[in-house]
Symmetry: D2
Subunit: 304 residues, 4 copies
């Protein structure tokens, strides 16, 4: 398959859609992002790397970081994590808090904010320096030492973290947060503020396409079964209240962030990262979702 | 792959689990089912058929019928159906009604009861004799003319249909049910009461594994894209509030019914039906879910 | 207190507000009501009757009928009714169905539709001819034989009763409706369609101001304790999601209907009926609420 | 009316119920309260004071403090407060958070925790030293300088304030909390930890029975209209999810606290405080509610 040509065609055909959607504006540091940027990167298990557009420009990975922290925690404590967080879709955004109350502080899945806070809390219990451990983990996945936390974004996140503070204290009242809430929010805001580009991201998801083994160094990070399970959770929960729709359209497990990035993968084959800052009403990159739907159509390959 | 040996091993290893779970007892006609029955059937696109245990005994397919009615309606009216029913998981059972109210009578997906009622309502608008049309459709899929509605079960369903009557009238108040409610409930109860065995069911899902084409006669029932989409909806919504967990454990698109049947498939490869009447607390066959998790583990093949 | 002058002053001062609000339009028979009508009637335990404006014109009492059916049922079966219906405010309209599900088919109070359906269902179990019994009850309260069901309105109600059908079937699925749903809806639509004028209504609430005794004939209909309790439920639940606000503004127990009528009373003293068809966003007569707030201010008397 | 004899009779008749219910145990400092204590105090506008049992022992007033802070804020900023907090019952406890989300951070009423936090936040904006101002206000109401914050209880409250921290941060995310959350929680925990006895409390509510004027010094604290409105809000919202039931049984405006205290009043007449630490499942003093129901029955006087 000539992936280079496939993504170039898509990139060309979708030029007119650049700038569509609404750049995330809940923090000033994100609001000023140029909406016209658009990059695609594909990495294959055979070692190929294909890119087009703004695939080398770094952006804020935001919620995509939840996949990394979850993989780290799952790799360490295994199925024990499921005592603290569920694996069912959350229904709709409106329900998040009532479900947390109804289900006694156990978030529905690790990819809604409440669940990701629990995962980061466990990461803090596993590592003395959780931020550094996370950066090292990502660097080893993408083979790039130049992965860092954008301190300006992290600071802006912390200044607008009232909702996440509320979620953390609420779960702490149920005993499902173990560490200090202020420190937890600091780590969480830092992980969201990690800067990466499409090439970094496509490479860093190859270990999932490779059933749990980092293809760069052969290290097994997750068992085959854990990798399968993480994929299933991404497919059913990776796109907020649009998860069903993304599975429906693209037919791939993946994860999006409000920075405009989306990473997805085809098991045993490849991973693909797209970046376009304009979001649709569900908070997922508008052009990113369309790109991935078109990609699986063009290569006639999805998991279904 | 020696599927016959795989399913025989599973069937043997799980003998001690027969009778586990709780047989559906919301209607008398189902409550008297012998809980010790256990059958498995695999059908491959290459034409193979493998069975073990009670794979030839007929049982009530219940909600599995929702896949057939949905495929029929989707094949006729295409994407128009998505104006009347969503494709997102429903969160939890407790939410069903409030979501229906909050989302103005549009059910979350075609596999919760509310959504299936909308689909059956559309089927009634398409066919003068919807029950007969549905039976003909299923017969052509499994190549067996001996598929019928168990009138005793259908009658029992109608006598305990207050909740479905409520759902139908509620959606009618939003204009999302077009036909007479009493007739709708009659058709709906009849489709749930269709009797089939595991061999019938595994064969009848091959058109999905075959990307929309009935392998028995080469007829295209769904476009490739529609088949992909139906698979995605089954994966995210096919098991009520346990959909995420089933994807997590078995990693396959599928559909269960409270009669104790589950049918799932691997695109491009095979379909598999399991029957064991004892249900877990989410209303899915307890041994059926375990069988499918073990099956994908043993053949080292899932969609992830 | 010169009640005649008080209500004449209010009526004069509020002339410019006639026509404000929105006439109920969910059924055609109500939608055509002239919005400019405005009547007030006061009846005192001392036997006085004061009126101004359109106090003699009949209108559809709608939900005000729920007070009459509830008083009849409470008078017959006493505290037993509280096993089937609660006495807590319902929070907000959006919650009605989820609360019904969460609380297993027991409506929050007798003045939301679900609760009133349960009450009418019990009335049907008590009387062979419930509609006639209800009319006789009201006639004896207001001393006017000319109280009847407006059949045109009743028919229109029945044709738009899908939501109430849904509520009734939903509660029946929990065993909290005993009679045939179609018949229940017919009786319920009939009670809503009763025609009365302000003078009829103010007189018919005097038995509540009189602590349970019909002042016209000395018959005790409710015990003192039952009358106190019915008043408390009216104060906390009589105005849908605006009950707290009405208590806050007018400080009186009362009940409104979407026909634009409101009846309220001061225990030991008087009752007052207002009619103005324009409704506020909560479904209560806009000018009616303002009239009652002004009335308690002008006479310096409320229950607080 | 011989109030002394009325309360002595009740106190004697209810001896066998002392110790019923469950003492609040969410903080250690309350859990160790002796459950056998039971006091009643009545204060009349004519200057009478009647007491029986443990009416002189101080206890933690907890949520009763919400009436004092609300009266102070209402007295200062008047109707402006209703832009930040509603006056409708909250439905049920389960809804508190979802309603806050659904209604954009505006709590339903000032007597649920979320609403009381908003009120205390406004108090902080009005006074440099809000705790001292509150104590002075209460001292002037009951004519007793010996009113203080129990620092041991306040400290215990702060150590178990995760849920209130969550509520405060959640509302801050909507802009409805203006001050620093840590300081707010400190003030809030302090107000809950104020110690008073039944005699203090009955006297301190006389200004409400007196339509807003402190009878001790003639100072008008609330307008007549404000006093009426505060009474209405107490009646509809003063007893959590049991407000409707308390109105139904006792027929009086009042407020309870988890310390086991309840204060209620009859406008134009008297106020009454009861203390018994055992709570019913709704968090209101079990014997306190029964005492007040019996009291209004015995004196044949309620607001209905």
């Amino acid at each position: 398959m000539d992936y280079q040509r496939v993504i170039e065609n898509i990139h060309k055909d979708f030029q007119s859609k650049k700038g569509c959607g609404k750049v995330a504006d809940y923090i000033p540091a994100l609001a000023e992002t140029d909406p016209m940027q658009y990059g695609i990167s594909v990495a294959t298990l055979e070692g190929g790397q294909y890119e087009v557009g703004d695939a080398c420009k770094k952006f804020s990975i935001q919620s995509i970081s939840k996949v990394f922290t979850f993989a780290m925690v799952m790799g360490h404590i295994g199925d024990e994590i499921w005592e603290s967080v569920g694996r069912e879709p959350s229904g709709n955004p409106f329900n998040s808090l009532v479900q947390l109350e109804y289900e006694h502080g156990i978030p529905r899945n690790p990819f809604i904010n409440a669940g990701a806070l629990v995962v980061t809390d466990r990461l803090m219990s596993l590592y003395d320096r959780p931020k550094e451990a996370l950066l090292d983990f990502i660097r080893s996945l993408c083979g790039n030492a130049d992965i860092y936390i954008d301190q300006r974004v992290a600071k802006s996140e912390r200044e607008h973290a009232d909702r996440n503070m509320a979620l953390a204290y609420f779960m702490k009242s149920f005993g499902n947060i173990k560490n200090d809430v202020d420190t937890l929010i600091d780590v969480y805001c830092s992980q969201c503020a990690i800067s990466m580009n499409c090439n970094d991201l496509s490479k860093s998801f190859l270990f999932l396409a490779n059933h749990g083994v980092n293809p760069l160094n052969g290290e097994r990070l997750l068992t085959i079964s854990q990798a399968k399970r993480l994929g299933a959770v991404m497919l059913t929960c990776g796109f907020y209240d649009e998860s069903g729709d993304f599975a429906f359209r693209a037919g791939l497990p993946g994860k999006s962030g409000v920075g405009g990035g989306i990473v997805a993968y085809i098991p045993g084959n490849l991973s693909i990262a797209v970046w376009s800052p304009g979001l649709n009403p569900h908070g997922n990159s508008l052009l990113g979702v369309e790109t991935l739907e078109r990609f699986t159509t063009d290569i006639s390959n999805s998991i279904f």
